[in-house]
């Protein structure tokens, strides 16, 4: 086959196949919509510190942060005290806690791997979506406590 026919044919075939496969996939924007409950907060590097005396108090044996430490890290964040995150289709994000009911906005950036949350006063935070399955979501974010690396927040889906 001549190149002038071969190239357009291959291009059309690959493009058609690409868009067909893309149409079969559910995008992260629709997968994230629903109600998610925070299950745990963990430090990325807590395991290496856990046996070093005073730091032992920072976390329990499986690396999860205590409520006090979690509160210290999150006190300046939009997500502070939120326990249930409700992602709406209209890009609203309701955060519910014991004494909290806050409404923010969410967007996805990059290839759908960055969650942007915008609160009041133009405050914007970015979280890396490390995992997003129908039942589980894992977010990572950097804290000021760089020595312990990123914080991993795990969610389980309550309602779709």
């Amino acid at each position: 086959m001549k190149a002038r026919f071969l190239y357009p044919t291959v291009f059309l075939a690959v493009s058609s196949m690409y868009f067909f496969m893309l149409s079969l996939q559910q995008g992260p924007e629709s997968r994230i919509v629903g109600e998610w409950k925070e299950v745990s907060w963990e430090y990325e590097k807590v395991d290496s510190l856990i046996h070093r005396g005073p730091d032992y108090l920072l976390a329990d044996h499986i690396g999860r942060l205590t409520d006090h430490i979690k509160s210290q890290i999150a006190k300046s964040l939009i997500v502070h005290e939120a326990e249930v995150w409700k992602f709406g289709t209209d890009e609203t994000l309701q955060m519910l806690g014991d004494s909290l009911a806050r409404e923010t906005r969410w967007k996805l950036k990059g290839r759908g791997n960055i969650l942007q949350i915008s609160g009041a006063d133009s405050q914007t935070e970015h979280y890396k979506i490390q995992e997003l399955t129908p039942t589980r979501m894992v977010l990572h974010f950097n804290t000021d406590m760089q020595v312990r690396g990123i914080v991993k927040i795990t969610f389980e889906r309550i309602n779709a």
Partner: protein
């Protein structure tokens, strides 16, 4: 800067490298700031592609595959234009990919400034256009400089720089003018890319999405410089007999 295909001087390569690397550095940094995705380097996207395949995130796999394909398509298009139009009009053949690149970046800049609602689809499309634009630029500079100038990523450049630096430990290599020229070219591109990136990061804080227009301005300089020189040469040749004579002698 872009009109010559063969027998290019190192000066021409440095001029081309500096301006396009500066643009690429700006585009890359601004895309990370606004869209959270790199748009001038592809190695990282291949690593991400592999990571997403291993995780089974097929939507992301397709998105990243699309981005890589558009960078590929940009290179393909730039070279296709050059090899098809080079004999009829070299200047047009070499400037057309940059014109296309400017159109892509102006589209991204204008859309982002006035219509961008930060949806994921918009983000993916903007990144796609920017990757296509960077592919065009990389394809053009590599084609017309015989692969001496590649300005959108620094992996190969850093490799060459490392090799050259080690060669310069010996006097016989240090004294070779072509190697010294290459060192100057590589250093110019590297510094320019970094300065472009830093500038984009700094000026974005004050002028926001207008950064794209500044990138386009630099690209206009690339095509405008040669246009000016060609037009000026024609003008002088027509108006000044002495200059015409000099040109004639040079050609002979």
């Amino acid at each position: 800067m872009i009109k010559r295909y063969r027998d290019r001087t190192n000066r021409e390569n440095i001029q081309l490298g500096v301006l396009t690397a500066f643009s690429a550095g700006m585009v890359n940094v601004i895309s990370v700031i606004i869209f959270f995705a790199f748009t001038s380097n592809i190695t990282g996207h291949f690593a991400i592609l592999a990571e997403e395949i291993s995780k089974g995130n097929w939507y992301q796999v397709l998105v990243v595959f699309g981005w890589i394909s558009l960078f590929f398509l940009g290179n393909f298009t730039a070279n296709l234009i050059v090899i098809n139009f080079n004999k009829t009009n070299a200047y047009l053949a070499h400037s057309l990919p940059i014109v296309l690149e400017i159109i892509c970046l102006l589209t991204v800049g204008t859309y982002t400034q006035f219509y961008y609602r930060e949806t994921l689809l918009e983000t993916e499309l903007m990144v796609s256009l920017m990757l296509f634009a960077m592919g065009l630029q990389n394809g053009l500079t590599a084609t017309i400089s015989n692969a001496a100038v590649k300005t959108t990523h620094l992996t190969g450049l850093t490799t060459d720089l490392g090799i050259l630096t080690s060669m310069f430990t010996q006097k016989e290599y240090r004294d070779r003018p072509e190697l010294r020229d290459k060192m100057r070219l590589l250093l110019s591109i590297m510094v320019s890319y970094v300065v472009g990136g830093v500038s984009a990061g700094l000026i974005y804080l004050t002028i926001n999405y207008n950064v794209f227009y500044i990138v386009c301005l630099f690209l206009f300089i690339v095509i405008g410089y040669d246009f000016y020189r060609i037009e000026m040469a024609d003008y002088l040749a027509k108006k000044q007999p002495f200059y015409r004579k000099t040109l004639k002698n040079q050609a002979a």
